[in-house]
Amino acid sequence: MSLVARHLEANGLPTVVMGCARDIVEECGVARFVFTDFPLGNPAGKPGDAGMQQAILGTALDLLERAWMPRTTVQTPYQWPDDAWREDFMRVDESNREELARQGKERRDLQARLKKG
């Protein structure tokens, strides 16, 4: 998505990226970025929370008017109710290491079979 935003900017169309994966967007580099520190999935605010969604989109509109240079990141003030997702997402530890290795091998075997037809 950051690549698309860069293309639009380079062709004269102002953009804002809204997202929750700060490192991916900032590594790529975009003109304006509204970051919400939520688990991936709801870059525009919590499901069912219209007030929060309006405030976050409002922040993106503010950035369109006020950012004066690229790589302007603004973090919204919202917090997810708990922090468990930070550790849980794509977790690798002794409890699942063997299972992950097995899943990876299974997928590669399947892909190899599909390739062969």
């Binding site: 997202g19 520190d37 999935g41 525009a44």
Partner: protein
């Protein structure tokens, strides 16, 4: 006043996390993420209350209910009427935290209703009559050469003055 002292960074690094996860699955060559030193920047050409704003999403059109059609479903680019907003969009194939949250409220990842509200209140000139979908693609070449110019074309066709892009 600070709340806590932490010997680590609070933000999840998805680059680090996904690299370690796929390495544990036995993928030896890590995905290489785009990095640029230079970043293009275009200021707004006119006041926001005169601008038409469009939204771009990585979510896909709803998967057909018919099993055969569902099997043939492929992620493609699309431009769809923004009003009324779709009741749901297809996100199962995307990289997001399916354990911690859900995407049943479209406005939580594609705020078409909220954008229409800003158009009604006069904060923006208007919302684009369409929103735009772009698949998340492993291939950065396809995103740069195929998807990006198409999104630009659609935005120009619709008279969009500023675009907001939301990645799940």
């Amino acid at each position: 006043m600070m709340d806590q002292l932490r010997p680590y960074r609070s933000f999840v690094s998805y680059i680090d996390r996904s690299r370690n996860y796929y390495a544990a699955q036995g993928y030896e060559r890590p995905y290489a993420w785009p990095h640029y030193d230079e970043v293009p920047f275009t200021p707004l050409a006119k006041p926001l209350f005169q601008c038409r704003v469009g939204l771009v999403t990585t979510a896909g059109l709803p998967k057909p209910v018919d099993p055969m059609a569902a099997m043939l479903y492929r992620r493609e680019m699309y431009a769809q009427p923004a009003w009324p907003p779709p009741e749901s969009l297809y996100t199962d194939d995307l990289f997001w935290d399916k354990k911690a949250t859900h995407t049943r409220d479209v406005d939580s990842f594609l705020p078409l209703t909220r954008l229409a509200g800003f158009a009604a209140s006069g904060r923006i000139g208007s919302a684009s009559p369409r929103f735009y979908g772009v698949p998340t693609d492993y291939s950065q070449g396809r995103t740069i050469e195929r998807y990006s110019p198409q999104i630009l074309d659609w935005c120009r066709e619709d008279g969009v003055d500023a675009a907001i892009l939301l990645a799940l």
